[in-house]
């Protein structure tokens, strides 16, 4: 399923709403999650899962083509942990 299909399914469930409105709802939900993570917050959606960020230390990487050493700055990478209820449903 891709985003446009998610929007379509949500629109089908809510025939009273304009398609454009449904699209904005979906965009808002995912934007809010990204912005929260960018602010350093975690996003906890019980039953579904939790988004958080994990710190990566600075290191010296290598350009695989030239073998040249390149510095890689410390950064945060997004992480998702599946919620308990969803994990159980996946294995029923």
């Amino acid at each position: 399923m891709i985003k446009s299909e998610l929007v379509q399914k949500l629109a089908d469930k809510n025939p009273e709403l304009h398609h454009k409105t449904v699209e904005r709802v979906v965009t808002t939900v995912f934007n809010e999650i990204v912005e929260a993570l960018a602010r350093g917050q975690r996003v906890e959606l019980r039953g579904f899962g939790a988004f958080s960020t994990r710190a990566r230390v600075a290191r010296t990487g290598r350009n695989p083509r030239t073998g040249e050493a390149v510095p890689v700055n410390a950064k945060h990478v997004p992480y998702f942990k599946c919620g308990k209820e969803l994990r159980e449903r996946l294995n029923k």
Partner: protein, 102 residues
């Protein structure tokens, strides 16, 4: 919002503020978005959301595990696990956040 954790309530509040639907309707839509994603995954399909990321199912084989406390061998059944791969857009946005706070 200075709390450390965002929840469903914050997401529906954002939908309420941005779109101007009722609070009840905003909460219901947030729930429906999460349910549609969950149901699709349970049905065995991956979910790919551009500029956000992909939820990808992986099949893990069964293996013999060990209870780390007792050393006892326990069988681990084959199972389906969910992984999330964040989009480059999300990764970049999070690293802009790092620079802003540095």
């Amino acid at each position: 919002m200075s709390k450390n954790t965002m929840t469903r309530a914050d997401l529906s509040e954002a939908v309420y503020q941005e779109i101007g639907l009722s609070r009840a309707e905003s909460a219901m839509l947030v729930e429906q978005v999460l349910d549609l994603i969950s149901d699709t995954l349970v049905a065995g399909h991956n979910v790919k959301l551009s500029s956000f990321g992909s939820f990808v199912l992986r099949q893990k084989g069964g293996r013999m595990g060990r209870n780390p406390k007792t050393g006892e061998e326990v069988p681990i059944d084959p199972r389906r696990v969910l992984t999330f791969k964040a989009s480059q857009v999300m990764r970049d946005r999070i690293n802009e956040g790092d620079k802003a706070s540095a």
